[in-house]
Chain length 480, copies 2
Amino acid sequence: MSDRLEGAIEPVDVETAASHVDSDAVVAVSGFGAVGYPKALPLALADDDRDLELTVVSGGSVGKEIDTALVETGAIARRYPYQSRPAAREAVNDGTIAYQDRFISAVGDEVALGHLPKPDVAIVEAVAVGADWFVPSLSIGHTAAYVRAAPKLIIEVNGSIPREIGRFHDVYERELPPNRKPIPLEHPADRIGDSRIRFDTDTLLAVVETETPDDPYSFREPSATDREIATNLATVLEAELERCSIFDDRIALQFGVGSLGNALMGALSDIDFGDRDVYYYGEVFQDGLLEMIENGTLTGASATSFALSVEGQRRLFDDIDRYSESVILRTAALSNSPALIDRFGVVGINSAVEVDLYGHVNSTHVGGSRVLNGVGGSGDFNRNSPLTITTLPSRHGTETSCLVPMCPHVDHTEHDISVVITEQGIADLRGRSPRERSRLLIEECAHPQFVDDLEAYLERSEANGGHIPHHLESAFFWQS
Amino acid sequence: MSDRLEGAIEPVDVETAASHVDSDAVVAVSGFGAVGYPKALPLALADDDRDLELTVVSGGSVGKEIDTALVETGAIARRYPYQSRPAAREAVNDGTIAYQDRFISAVGDEVALGHLPKPDVAIVEAVAVGADWFVPSLSIGHTAAYVRAAPKLIIEVNGSIPREIGRFHDVYERELPPNRKPIPLEHPADRIGDSRIRFDTDTLLAVVETETPDDPYSFREPSATDREIATNLATVLEAELERCSIFDDRIALQFGVGSLGNALMGALSDIDFGDRDVYYYGEVFQDGLLEMIENGTLTGASATSFALSVEGQRRLFDDIDRYSESVILRTAALSNSPALIDRFGVVGINSAVEVDLYGHVNSTHVGGSRVLNGVGGSGDFNRNSPLTITTLPSRHGTETSCLVPMCPHVDHTEHDISVVITEQGIADLRGRSPRERSRLLIEECAHPQFVDDLEAYLERSEANGGHIPHHLESAFFWQS
């Protein structure tokens, strides 16, 4: 028996474990930022002879064993609250998988309250397990909430991840309303929980041992456009540090997941933060943050997932002693908590598919219809941050403007966004009327090749009048 | 000297007070739910010989002295964060007034942080004033935050409102981020503050005495449609009381402002809440709630404004002793707090202009362009309530469907809304994929006369594919 299994826990083979999962089960899985999800059970279910119609609820993004292998065998009928692999995306877009996109912060509650389907079984990845506890692996996400909501539990213990990873974890569980207490976290670097998730021993069906590593992230090298956006972001942040006294002693920043977000994190090293403490407070700990901790830019980081490259993971695993002094993994209910984002004044920096002339943001759908990954945590930060920055290139490829007359899908409203940044420039929308916003966005953020078309649209719209002038007949003229 | 002025406070005439206001001043005024706003100063400013270009920031809705008189003399150049009178609406829609619609909960912070223009002067209504304090009148709103942000202060002491109104007040002010503490309110009926707002004595420019009552609300009699919507709402709430254990001992409800909201509040008296404590936790205390307190349906209420009819106001004023045992007025930062809405599990019930086939909600704009009142607090509740209910008639008049293919303006996203109710029926959107939502909304909520058109739109859209199928060329076919 491995030293990862304490007490009387005996592992079983994965097929035995998989046989406990009913063919139409609602399965809640661990996993966030494409790490920390179960791998062996999903592959065994993909090989299962039964005709599966599973509902899969994850914390956030998971890897190929679920959103590729299980999808391709047709085993997933429903999926919540996020997906980010081509196979899952295609099945969602053709209607084969019934999917619903959710804001991350509330998903644990939605499962607990039965607003999403009640789990029949929770399948989670751990680095160690005992009689009534386990230590999650590389992400925490909503795992604790799912384990509490599910009447059955299957645990995969992954021996490829250092057991000491638990030193990053701070699992704090909240009561449900109406007697929910204030979250007692008063500083981004405080710890209020435990490295372990507890479970009711009666629920444990099986423990399986695995050695499969998570699919590491690969970030593309920052493009020239990424670097120009990063320079504009630095300009905005430096001006806010100067202008706004709430950042005098400490600033907390959040960046969206992905190559642009990672490139932007890296660019922070160029900003003079003076004597301030600088914290990352967000969902996902990416490679850019490792560098910032090493060079002293970052005082500390709080996230719910380690979404790292091979090299980043190696650096983290090789020096857990040192990194665990300043890096904390929390539940997604806390990493994305509206109350904490507000309390710490987290500056939210997120990308988008497109922005419209009045500052509405589409971060999920192409052409209004085809979903990409899902809205994820961007909604939690865009709504609750005192300063919300949307970063995106001014165009996709050479033919498509990212500043559009009207977003055909809105994830974040005109009321949510403070500043829009493209490689062309900066539009500070705060306090501006919609008509002022439209001029500013065209002037500062549009790619020059689209300016004439956008101005012609505005003229047609303003002839109609209204607080937010639109010309509905031609609002989507680029797509028609 | 009136007994409303304590210590060395001497009143001045209103023209003298108005002369302290610069012609291009940023003026932050008290007022929420169209009560508790200054009346004499705005009228004096409307009569002012100078060419005024004021920026007016209110807590929420204010009365005719500001949004009619001052608007009609052309004295307002900018306006935040809400307006609800025809004159203001017209000026906003024709672009004469630069307006920005904001979610209510954050406006105090936005003023404090300079995201909205920094006030030059705060003009507030009170029922009593002393050397460094005043007692607000019929609303609290963001008054405390504005007084703190403004370097100058003018107070109107309104003798027409009982001084004892202060017994309802519970003013609790929060620190700014990043050292903001958790709000220590653990129950909707708790008090954590003070009846007074404090100010820096150096800022006080003038105190003016007035006797002008607030414009009382008048609610229309509930229509047949209102009553059918109320019946459907009762069905939904009764099912949730049965289904969801978080409501076993206590439920807190919020209703939007207006005649439909008021009619829905009244309908609660028909629900069997059993032994549960039932609280109102929202922005505005309307007539419907008085009745519910009298008949014992409601255990207590927390709001930020008394938006009552003449008769309702008389009932309240005549029995302050009794009502102040169970009714509390708080700051809007608390009445609309995302953290508290979540903590208490407040059920949010708000109306809308239109809903689209996938559950996006427009609560502010006609034809995507012409603003009505503003988004107000609906965003705070729709986002943070565990159960978010949108109520609206299936059609406006006899020609316009309120269920539309695509909302030409989105205030609340598909991720925000749990249940849609019209007089036709109930669509529970929780856990449903967009394609499922569209069928359910047509079947349950559409007016029969529009069903064929909506189904034809869906067919065109689904032929295009996608997670949220749309046919952009005809998304606004009803408006073109």
